[in-house]
């Protein structure tokens, strides 16, 4: 059914259609609207006997999901940013135990300085935690990915993180097609756990494993990720057959035929990039785009093949590995190892800094002439940076950096970009 609906409400409705049995949640912006909607649906009895747990922290939220999943219940939670870091120990534990929990991450920056707006620092920080990590480009895809996520998680007995850009998607009203319960039921069979707590068949779960077997256990967790490279496209195809639209998959190529410059990104910025590609193609530029749908497992082979005709790749990413540069770019370089393709890193949109089409166009055109520094910080205000560096050089007790910069700017909420 077509609805004009907020992204968070759409995600909540999609989760509800998947018939979760336990939802645990702790509030954090911008995830709140998702769990608020779910709590209402549970109260209204619209998700069967589903239990909604208001827990005391994100660590508690993931821990409750672990307990519920181990007891054989389809389990869901959602978080963002600091919340995701606060639950980090349990995030690793869930995958280590092979529990098919689905979690929405409303992507948000990590502080300090505290910042509630969108970037990908949070999910990137936990990219290697053993969860499958898939990114939504639009609210429609966010809906569709959640339905695929439960199927994927339970088929492989591995947890899945569905990343949805905070505010840009979670708080945006868009037209979204919410599938019917009948179709979702046909696509997503009831949860059949691989292992569970059962008084009739008592097993010990979560034992200590020493050096004699730990390598093998970890390898098998990696192996599951490799299996997902096959399962993700298959489930996306099955989804397309039943629901009549393409969503998910490992990567999506956009006008890459003959493209000498290919822009790679993940999440909602891909929409802007596609518009840019259209404009540049009209101007006769040889530019295409690739959306990375699955960041974990990372589709090395698919990317390598899709990028094989390009002279250069421009990776636009909303994160920064301090002391290194781009995280996605590093992964893309691994896909291209041995190839001569140039990879440019564009660090953009940190803490909600707008990524405008104009800035992207300027940057991509510079890269297409191989005249872009790497990494490039999109729309970074160097005057502000230089002023703070000068202040720090002049005076030992120069004060807190963030507050100094805000004072320099002089106005809260000044127009950016």
């Amino acid at each position: 059914m077509l609805k004009q609906i907020e992204g968070s409400h759409a995600v909540a409705e999609a989760v509800a259609l998947c018939r979760p049995e336990v939802i645990s949640a702790y509030p954090i912006t911008p995830q709140t609207h998702i769990v608020e909607t779910l709590s209402e649906l549970v109260r209204e009895g619209k998700i069967g006997s589903c239990q909604f747990l208001n827990v005391e922290s994100e660590f508690g939220a993931m821990s409750a999901a672990i307990g519920a999943s181990a007891a054989g219940a389809r389990s869901y939670t959602a978080s963002s940013s600091q919340g995701l870091l606060f639950m980090a120990e349990a995030v690793y534990n869930a995958s280590g135990l092979g529990l098919p929990i689905v979690m929405t991450v409303g992507n948000r920056a990590i502080g300090a300085p505290i910042n509630i707006w969108n970037d990908h620092s949070d999910s990137m920080a936990l990219a290697n935690a053993g969860w499958i990590q898939i990114h939504a480009e639009s609210n429609q895809e966010a809906v569709d990915l959640h339905i695929q996520a439960f199927r994927l998680a339970e088929e492989l007995s591995v947890p899945v993180m569905v990343c949805v850009d905070g505010f840009i998607l979670t708080h945006a009203y868009e037209r979204v097609d919410i599938p019917s319960q009948e179709d979702v039921d046909a696509y997503l069979p009831p949860f059949q756990p691989v292992q569970m707590l059962d008084p009739a068949d008592p097993v010990s779960i979560g034992a200590m494993v020493g050096p004699e077997a730990f390598m093998e256990v970890r390898y098998l967790a990696h192996h599951k990720q490799l299996q997902a490279l096959d399962v993700i496209p298959r489930l996306a195809d099955e989804f397309a057959q039943r629901f009549g639209r393409k969503s998910g998959g490992l990567i999506e190529t956009y006008r890459t035929d003959g493209a000498k410059t290919i822009v790679v990104a993940l999440g909602s910025i891909v929409g802007t990039i596609k518009d840019l590609v259209d404009e540049l193609r009209e101007q006769g530029e040889s530019v295409g785009a690739i959306k990375i749908g699955a960041f974990r497992p990372f589709p090395l082979a698919e990317l390598r093949s899709a990028l094989s005709g390009a002279d250069r790749v421009v990776v636009v990413e909303k994160d920064l590995a301090l002391g290194l540069g781009g995280i996605v770019a590093s992964n893309v370089r691994m896909a291209l190892r041995g190839a001569t393709t140039l990879v440019y890193t564009v660090i953009a949109g940190l803490g909600g800094r707008p990524i405008t089409k104009a800035s992207l166009e300027r940057t991509v055109m510079q890269a297409s002439k191989d005249a872009l520094e790497d990494p490039h910080f999109l729309d970074l205000n160097w005057d502000i940076v230089d002023a703070e560096l000068a202040r720090a050089k002049e005076k030992r007790r120069s004060g807190p950096i963030a507050e100094n910069i805000l004072r320099d700017i002089g106005l809260m909420g000044r127009k950016t970009g």
């Binding site: 747990l53 922290s57 660590f59 672990i66 307990g67 007891a71 219940a73 010990s204 979560g206 034992a207």
Partner: protein
């Protein structure tokens, strides 16, 4: 039987099943016991925690007709029971992390509610560190939501599994590997203390109790009673640790009993935030009798000021819980 049999003649609470009719004997004394924590685990000789867990889990199993799911925090009990591929657990058992056992148990209980399996019950257990320190937030959340979980804390008063570091339950004066017996104030600080049963009662949950391996009948009875109640329940069990306390393994029961008889570990029950019963001390002992059997207090024995301070703590417990009573039987 109109009057409860007491085991004065033996000087200990640990024997005496043979004096009782079959109905009144411990679960452990019956052939039907489940052996939930079965033999062959790797606990130290004289481990109070292994003993307490064995009695507690079997009593819980009997109380729910063996429809029990157990969640365990990281710690000695977890490590000595499951060095895979060995497992000493003959119950469905899940270990997740150090600080999250109460929240995991909440999730298990929620799953059972969702599935309508109300006959299956949830037991969570952990040591003092996993309960009163790193697990306190999750524990408080589980209490406040009144989730249907019985949480048992086996308190040996330090982080024994990692090598006897101080916990929030380490008593004042005690030497641990992070409160060494050196300097002008040797051993653990004389701080404010941290009483998980009282913290639990502050949540007004249906049932709270303290228990000791010194009185295993009482421990079993409290577990059985807790299992007859729905909602969040908490039992704090005092369990001596020969390794961490520097005591002889053969003194585990003696020390547990002395902790009770000095007043250092008061036994009481609470319901909905109020104390409903306390166990009177039959033969009051000075704290020195308890302390002198433990190397962790060796430096205290020659320090009258420290001894007096510890005695004052015991005296306060005795006043607070009315542990020494006229005609106390």
């Amino acid at each position: 039987m109109t009057q409860r049999v007491k085991f004065y003649q033996t000087g200990t609470f640990t024997v005496g099943n043979r004096l009782l009719d079959a109905e009144s004997r411990t679960v452990q004394a019956t052939v039907e016991r489940n052996n939930s924590l079965t033999s062959g685990h790797r606990a130290c000789q004289g481990c109070g925690e292994a003993l307490g867990a064995r009695y507690a889990v079997d009593a819980a199993m009997r109380a729910c007709n063996s429809q029990l799911l157990c969640v365990n925090a990281t710690g000695c009990l977890e490590v000595f029971s499951t060095p895979y591929p060995e497992s000493s657990w003959r119950v469905a058992w899940l270990h997740s992390l150090f600080g999250n056992a109460p929240a995991v148990a909440s999730g298990v209980a929620a799953a059972l509610r969702a599935k309508g399996r109300t006959e299956t019950r949830v037991l969570a257990q952990g040591g003092d560190g996993g309960t009163v320190d790193i697990g306190m937030g999750c524990l408080s959340g589980m209490f406040e939501r009144n989730d249907d979980v019985l949480y048992i804390c086996y308190d040996n008063e330090a982080y024994m599994n990692t090598g006897v570091q101080r916990s929030g339950r380490t008593p004042p004066g005690a030497r641990t590997s992070t409160t060494p017996a050196v300097g002008p104030h040797p051993g653990n600080v004389f701080g404010q203390g941290k009483h998980p049963a009282i913290i639990a009662m502050a949540h007004d949950i249906p049932y709270v109790a303290t228990a000791s391996v010194a009185d295993l009948h009482d421990l079993e009875e409290k577990v059985t009673k807790a299992m007859s109640i729905g909602g969040a329940r908490f039992i704090h069990v005092h369990v001596p640790c020969p390794l961490g306390w520097g005591s002889e393994p053969c003194n585990t029961m003696r020390l547990a009993r002395l902790a009770v008889e000095t007043g250092l570990f008061p036994l009481f029950e609470g319901e909905h935030g109020e104390v409903i019963s306390t166990t009177p001390i039959r033969r009051r002992q000075p704290v020195e009798e308890y302390l002198k059997l433990q190397k962790r207090f060796r430096h205290v024995i020659g320090d009258p000021q420290a001894l007096a301070a510890i005695q004052a703590l015991a005296d306060r417990n005795i006043r607070r819980f009315n542990l020494v009573r006229e005609n106390a039987a």
